[in-house]
Every structure is written in structure tokens, then in C-alpha cells.
Symmetry: C2
Subunit: 542 residues, 2 copies
């Protein structure tokens, strides 16, 4: 027997409509590509997203058509999120840091019908346009005054012109909540990128869950600045959860350096921010150098890659900014776990609490997780056993766009490719990527643990650990280090630094020094490249 509740599909358009009605004058502030500050309100954004929806229709974009964007975090990008998904088309965010060849490949694979771009990326557009097989138009996200005088791209369209032609009062259509809403390709380190195809339902459920007090804790008393790009899994969902709760939104545009971010934090009274460790490194350095404080910033979520404990300490102890250590992935919309203490932890010492805060935290309700050994058997939540992490839930993918990569699920669970431990209280710690974990004599060694210790050394700027072939143990860890400018440190000093911090058999067998560690398009260390470069390093123990 079915219940007798209203049949209201969960649709993305309703989020912005709610914000426009209940938070009509709440601001959205953007640093534009041109450098100036643009401000308007949720009511304005909703009105303009409606005009955009009409404009898309006029350009021939229909239900389920894909529309690409190559853009920074800004108000026009935000309008595209709602205008495109709102008519049942698919918002396809593309990472502009990818190689132009990859961008063309992705846009062709997605069969994007239109491509919207920030002027910054005109050179990329000019490079890829001739290779785009499905794209019928390129729209510069600017006004007539800033349109390029001439361009190699024929028939370039102007965003503001499109909106100006349309009228207000668009009525958002209603359709199945399982309709595809947006598409984000994973920057796979092997093989071609694969597209995660979100639904309206998965997006709304994720938005509810991500705003909860023990997730990102978003309310109408927050001003939220997503540093994490809108082309990285929808700015970790903040593009939806902020209007859902009526938080003020602050978009940093292209300027992600420490000074630009700190200025915006202060002038716009930002209370909460979100980003990857590499961005925070720049911010913290700038703030320290200039002896500055954060007047309103109370917390920040750090994810994307494992956050060094030293960074958590710096934010919390030096600046009074609470760090929410989080974990997720493109295939998870992206949130899986966030670290927030329980009542039982409130009486602990600061150090004991810190021991919990460095974990990636507890699963948000909606995400189930488990760890399994190589044999697929579930491992206990004892904080020690580490195994492959699997997840399931309504905002986890069950496959990729066009069936690429086949069926990834194992008995209904999605294998994350991460290796983790889980404590009896449900706090999860990523110990490694499955492909990066070092398998020494049948036991596993966490490359991340070894890296975190190395970067805590005052002379170390960056550190990576990879497994290198060993005749007796199969693999042994090799520590790869980039020293801070001017800093001196020897192999022996670094190995000695591990004393008492790890089990003896985890100690790297050797250290190599290098000038730079290669990073991928999302700022993560490219261990594949490191393995190419140092995989044949001859260990002194071999």
C-alpha cells in the first residue's frame, strides 16, 4: 500500500525558486574575470536563470541535451547551473586546467551542443573549436562591451545579449526527478576520462545532507565562499546547498591567490569556505607573512586530497578557524564523510580531539561504507584494519556516461579505489589509494601516512612516497622529497625523523630529492608520473 503524500519530484529548479522567495535580497557576490566586484541577489539570479532557460530553448537546446561550461566560480556560471538543469538539459562542467586535447575529447564524448566560457579561456576555445564535432555555438560569458573585437571562433555569442532578448517570469517545467541534471568527468589517471551523470534527485538529497550540522553546517547566517571550483563536482555541492539554506554566496572568480582570497573573506564577511589543501597552503603563507587574521571566517572544509595534519593545526591553533576534514569523490556528488566530534569527545584534551580531527570523519546519513580485504571479506571497524573502501547510496554512481568502463559495482557497492581504516565510532581514515598502497611482504604500508610525517619536517616543501620493486618484499617504500627553498636536509635526517612515529618495517628504504612533484589538473600529486620517473630506482636494500 502506498502512502498518501504529495507527488513532488525533487527538482533543482525548486532550490533557486525557494531562495528567490525566502531570501530574495540575500547577496551573491562575484569577483569577475575583469577584476571588478559584481553583486546581486537570489531574486536577480532566479530571474536571470529563467531568461537563460528561454535563451537556451531559442538556441535549440532541448531536454537531455548537454551544455558545456569552461568557467570560474561566478554568478553567470551559477545561473547556468540552474538555467540548464532547470529545463531538463544537462549541465556539463569541464575542467579548464585539462589539456585542450582532453577538453575537446570530453566535449565530443559528451556531445555538448553549446559551450559557455569565461573570457580567460578564449585561447582554449580557439584551439579546441575546430575539433568540436557536436558543438553548435560558443557563448562568451560577458557583456557586449567586453566581447573580443575579433576571434578565430566564428559566430561567437554574447551571454548578456542572449539574456537581454528574453523576458522574465519563466515557469520551470516539472519532470522525473531521476532525469540527468549534470555531468562531470573524472580526471582518471589511466584511460579516458569517465563521466559521472548526476540526477535531480541525487543532487537535492546531497544538498540536504551536505547542509546538516554534522556535515557542512550551512545556514542563512553564513556567507560562503567556495574556493573549490564549480568545475570540481559542483563546488562540492555548495552551488546547491547555499541557495537551499539561503546563505550568502561569494564567488572568487579566477583569483585564488592568498591576497585575493583573504581580501574577499574580510570585505564580504565570509564565515565558511571550502577548498583543497594546495589552495590553503597559499592562503596560510600569505596571512602569516603579512601578520593578518580572519575576522569572520569560523570554519573551512578541506578535501579533494588528504589534508596534512600540520595544516589543520595551523588553521585551528593559529587562526581559530575550525577545519572540517572531509572525503568524497566525483562519483559521490562528492560528499562521503566529514569529521565532526560527538558528545563523548567534548571532554577530551585538545590533543586527543586532534587525533580524531585528522581523520576524514563519519559517513553522512545516505552514504553506507565498508572496508574489505583483497578477498572481498568485510573488515572490522577497529581503527586498525585497513582495506579497500566501498560505498553505496542514492548520490553514488552506479556507472558512467555511455557505459564507459562497464559496471563498476561489486554486489551493489562502488569501489572507491581508496584504502581506509574505520574506528569503532565510525571515523574513517584514508590510508592510501588502492593503487598507491605499498604491498610489502603481503602487508600494506600507507604511502599517505609516510608523506604526512615527511611534510611535517621543517625543511620539506612536498613529499611523495611510492612503492619500488624489491626482490624479497615485492615492494618497499621510496620517499621523494622537494626541499623548501634554501633548506638543507639529508637522507639520514629524514629517515631519522620517522623514529617512533611508525612501525619499524614501514620505514622508507631510501630517499630521493627532486625539484618538483608533478600535479594533475585537480592539484593532486601524479603518482603515475612519479612511478615512471622513480619506479626503477635501485634501493640500497635490494
Amino acid at each position: 500500500m502506498l502512502g498518501i503524500m504529495q507527488d513532488q519530484p525533487l527538482l533543482i529548479s525548486s532550490v533557486l525558486a525557494h531562495a528567490a522567495r525566502h531570501h530574495a535580497d540575500t547577496e551573491i557576490v562575484s569577483r569577475t574575470v575583469e577584476g571588478s566586484i559584481h553583486r546581486y541577489t537570489y531574486a536577480d539570479a532566479h530571474r536571470r536563470a529563467g531568461r537563460l532557460a528561454r535563451a537556451l530553448g531559442a538556441l535549440g537546446v532541448g531536454f537531455s541535451d548537454r551544455v558545456g561550461t569552461l568557467a570560474w566560480n561566478g554568478y553567470r556560471h551559477f545561473e547556468l547551473y540552474y538555467g540548464i538543469s532547470g529545463i531538463g538539459a544537462v549541465m556539463h562542467t569541464i575542467n579548464p586546467r585539462l589539456h585542450p586535447e582532453q577538453i575537446a575529447w570530453i566535449a565530443n564524448h559528451a556531445e555538448d551542443k553549446l559551450l559557455f566560457f569565461d573570457l580567460t579561456f578564449l585561447p582554449i576555445i580557439e584551439a579546441v573549436a575546430p575539433h568540436m564535432r557536436t558543438c553548435k555555438g560558443f557563448v562568451a560569458m560577458t557583456d557586449r562591451a567586453h566581447m573580443p573585437a575579433s576571434s578565430k571562433v566564428a559566430g561567437l555569442l554574447c551571454y548578456e545579449d542572449l539574456l537581454e532578448r528574453e523576458s522574465d517570469g519563466f515557469e520551470w517545467p516539472t519532470f522525473d526527478e531521476n532525469t540527468a541534471s549534470s555531468l562531470c568527468y573524472t580526471s582518471g589517471t589511466t584511460g579516458n576520462p569517465k563521466g559521472a551523470l548526476y540526477t535531480h534527485r541525487s543532487t537535492i538529497l546531497h544538498a540536504y545532507a551536505s547542509a546538516l550540522p554534522d556535515t557542512l553546517d550551512c545556514s542563512a547566517r553564513d556567507a560562503i565562499l567556495p574556493v573549490v571550483p564549480m568545475f570540481h563536482v559542483n563546488a562540492w555541492g555548495l552551488a546547491y546547498s547555499c541557495p537551499l539554506v539561503g546563505a550568502k554566496l561569494v564567488f572568487p572568480g579566477p583569483q585564488l591567490d592568498g591576497k585575493s582570497l583573504h581580501d574577499l573573506f574580510e570585505t564580504e564577511k565570509v564565515t565558511f569556505s571550502a577548498g583543497v589543501p594546495t589552495v590553503w597552503q597559499g592562503l596560510l603563507a600569505y596571512v602569516k607573512q603579512n601578520n593578518l587574521r580572519f575576522s569572520t571566517l569560523s570554519r573551512t572544509v578541506i578535501g579533494g586530497s588528504s589534508c596534512p595534519p600540520a595544516m589543520i593545526k595551523a588553521f585551528q591553533d593559529d587562526y581559530g578557524v575550525r577545519v572540517l576534514h572531509a572525503w568524497g569523490m566525483t562519483e559521490m556528488s562528492p560528499l562521503g564523510t566529514v569529521c565532526n566530534l560527538k558528545t563523548k569527545h567534548l571532554g577530551l584534551t585538545k590533543d586527543e580531539q586532534f587525533g580524531i580531527e585528522v581523520t576524514q570523519g563519519r559517513a553522512v546519513y545516505g552514504v553506507d561504507m565498508k572496508i574489505v580485504g583483497d578477498d572481498g571479506q568485510e573488515l572490522p571497524w577497529d581503527g586498525k584494519s585497513f582495506g579497500n573502501l566501498l560505498v553505496r547510496g542514492p548520490w553514488v554512481v552506479k556507472g558512467y556516461f555511455k557505459g564507459e568502463g562497464g559496471d563498476p559495482l561489486v554486489d551493489g557497492w562502488f569501489p572507491t579505489g581508496d584504502v581506509a581504516t574505520i574506528s569503532p565510532d565510525g571515523f574513517m581514515t584514508i590510508t592510501d589509494r588502492s593503487k598507491d598502497v605499498i604491498k610489502s611482504g603481503g602487508e600494506w604500508i600507507s604511502s599517505i601516512d609516510l608523506e604526512n610525517i615527511a611534510v611535517a619536517h621543517p625543511a620539506v616543501l612536498q613529499a611523495a612516497v611510492i612503492g619500488v620493486a624489491h626482490p624479497k618484499w615485492d615492494e618497499r617504500p621510496l620517499l621523494i622529497v622537494v626541499r623548501k627553498p634554501g633548506a638543507q636536509v639529508t637522507r639520514e635526517e629524514l629517515l631519522g625523523f620517522y623514529d617512533g612515529k611508525i612501525a619499524k618495517w614501514w620505514l622508507p628504504d631510501d630517499v630521493v630529492f627532486t625539484d618538483a612533484i608533478p600535479l594533475g589538473a585537480t592539484g593532486k600529486m601524479l603518482k603515475t608520473k612519479l612511478r615512471e620517473q622513480f619506479g626503477s630506482h635501485r634501493l640500497p636494500t635490494a
Copy 2:
């Protein structure tokens, strides 16, 4: 085109499973009917709910069968919530304060197959059992030691015996999320009660929304005591939102007097509570009389009926407990709006903030609301226009069990029967029930506004205002007052008390004094009775 996300139905069983896994040792504390304190954990509750599910099966309860409960807030009632709904049967909570005839009528209408009851209610069970046409068994929610030695009810079953027979490790079945999960009859003031039939989907969506920072703000650092009964719309959803976030649960059992509640608040370090104004009246009186404080209670949600501003002030100013003024109804699962300030209000004076805090607040995302005039035309959100309040959303009913009362919707909107204003910022204020609003010369007068002013008078214990027939104005307000014990106040003094507080034409035309105002089963004033009693009162102005 559909997206490619996992097809995971939103099921109630998954909430408790999540709590058992992530908050295994978090406590559920109950004051039992016998008076002692019972404590166990989410892991225990989950294990026992599974045994209960097996026991229900053994007793012949199948998918969609209704199972009634007549019980206080306690751990066994909590287990029933999950054990019954978890197997796809329907949890039917019955208000034990109803007249036994009504209880029998409701149980027969619902076709309850079993009835679980707390021992307190054995006399009711004995009275109604002979009239129950579908009920095949009565289960006393107690252990063997406390079972009544003899009873008029044949074959009385013992809850703990049922569970003892079963084994652990029950696997919750998966089914359509639109399956009926629970049933709650509205205590309609006219006609027979009508059943709101919730779904697993509506329950989970409501649980997500109700735990948000701007709703009830529930986290794993809370200890939550629902005073609001589990037979009142699932304790306003707290029976689901607490395990969803891993909050400690404290159940007060039958003892809702000021002392019992305050003792529990203190010993169990309660941070958050929920209840109707009449309960808080008793608590505040006790705390004041004994010169006590609240050591851990930081906030309380007050709803069920409009909260007198004086009560909000007492909690906030005298005891530092923040009041979340809320509004909802059985047909809304129940939450519609909750009052939480926005950033723009944080700079206001305390008095200005108070002017917002007395409103019922903003709609939670998921609930759309609008106000319309008698002609059905939407009225502006200007904080002045008041009209009939309509709502819609995925946790709002579209009809009643067995089609009772026909189709209540108006163009897809549910008419709440309340009259309200909405401010430009989306803050809603209930000014009256549609049937209680006083229609004077074509204009509306809010009976609630007039009552709130009257109860602020130091000599007034209770006050009600009804419309009384008037030859010229159709209706005019009559103030009905219960004086505090020993207090003296005249008609003229009370009417003078309105000076400067309302528009002149709102002034009641007369005052009558009475000994008691009749209350319904949910603690609300029964204006129908008052109209019977005083409707023919001859106004001096007539």
C-alpha cells in the same frame, strides 16, 4: 535521459541501521512507566527492532498491515517505530488522551491488526477491546515480571516475551519508498478523525530537512528530549531525525510535570527539547518557584499551538534558552516553518530581533507556502496582508486514509485552515485559524493576537477570543478570561490593557470571566465548545 546514480529507496530502516553502525554506543535513555530509568544504545535498539520485526511476522503482521500503539515516549515505542515500518507494515500511533470510543473508532477505521500499549493504558484497552473489530492481539509493552496478574483482555501478550523468542541479525527488506510507513489521525474538531498516511520517502526527506541548522539544528553533540508525544506526528519527526544524526535520545515516559522534566534535563545533560506551550508553562513555573537553572539546555522548539510571546521572553531572557518558534501540522509530517534569524538580523537590537522571533518563521526548503484571499488570489508577502495559508511539498498529504474527506487540495496546494501573514523576508505569522478568525464588517480580526495580549496581563491565566454575532458588523470579538487564582481584574481594566496595542476597531466588545477553558486531546483550546457556550452572548454593542 535518466542519470546514472544508484537506485536506493529512502527507507526508514536505514536510519536506525546507520545509527547502529555510526553511533553504536550513543545512548537512548527512557523514564519507564514503572518510574525507573532505562538506558541502552542505538546498537541495542537496532538489534531489538530486528527481533520485533521477526516477532511481528510470527504474529501474522504482513506488508501494509496496520499496527496500533497507545504509548508514551519510551524505548519500546521507539523500537516499534522501526520494527513495524521496517518490514513495510504501517505504524499507527493513537492518542491515548482521546475518548475510548474515539480510540476504538480510529483503531477500527485503521483496521489495526495488533495493538501495543503501555501498562498505564490497560484500563483503556480493557474498555475498548470488546469493540475492536480487526485487532487480533493486544501486546503489553513490559516484561513478564510486570504483566498484570489478571485482565479482562483475553490472551494478553507480553512485549519482552515476544522479543526473547526471536534471534538477532534481522535483514531489513527493501521496497518502494512510496510505501505507507505510518498513520496518524488528526484530532479534527468537526467530523470524524482523518488519517494522514506517511511514506518512507516523506519521512526521510522530512528528517533531513528537520535536522538542518535553520530547522531544529540536530547533531551528534546533542542530547534531545522530545516532550512532544510520539503519538503527535512522530514526536515532530524527532524519532527519525535523532538517529539520523546520532543525537542521544532522552524519553520522558509518562511524567511530564515540571520537576520530572527538569530532573531529566539536568541528569541527562539535555541540550534540546521540543513541546507545546502548555507543557512549558508547567516547567517554567516549577523552575521559577524553585529558583533553578538549566545547565545544558540551549534551545527548545515550541509549536503545536501559537507560543505566547511572554513564554519566549521567559525562556530566552530569564534562562538563556533559545526558543525556536515553529509551525506545522499532522498533514505536514509536521514541520512547515521554523523561526531562525538571518545574517541581516544579527545587528538588530534584542527587541527588534524579538519582533522576528515571535513569528512562526521561514519555510523549510521542501515546503512551499502562499497566502490567498477568500477569492483564491495570492496575497503579497508584505507582513500585513493576511489570508488563508496553503502549502505543498513532498511531506504534505494529498488526501486522507481511505479517501475520507475527499480531495483536500486546491490546485495542488493543501489548505492548512490557518490564516497568516508573510513578511518580505519570508517570515510567516499565524494570525488565526480560518474558522476562528473574526470577520467584522468584511475585515478580519485575529483572535490569536487578542489572546496573546490578554495573557500578558498579570492577572490572566488563560484567555480565548471568539467571534459573536453582531447585527451591524456580522461578528465582533468577545474576550473570555480565566483569572489566576486569587487575582482580581475587571472588564474595564482588561479592555484598557489593549490601549495602543491594537487598531481601535479590533478591541473586544465585551469580556466574560469563566473558571476554565476547555482543552482538546492535544492541549489546544476548544473554540467549538467556547462558541457553544458563549456564542449567544449578547454584546453590549449589539
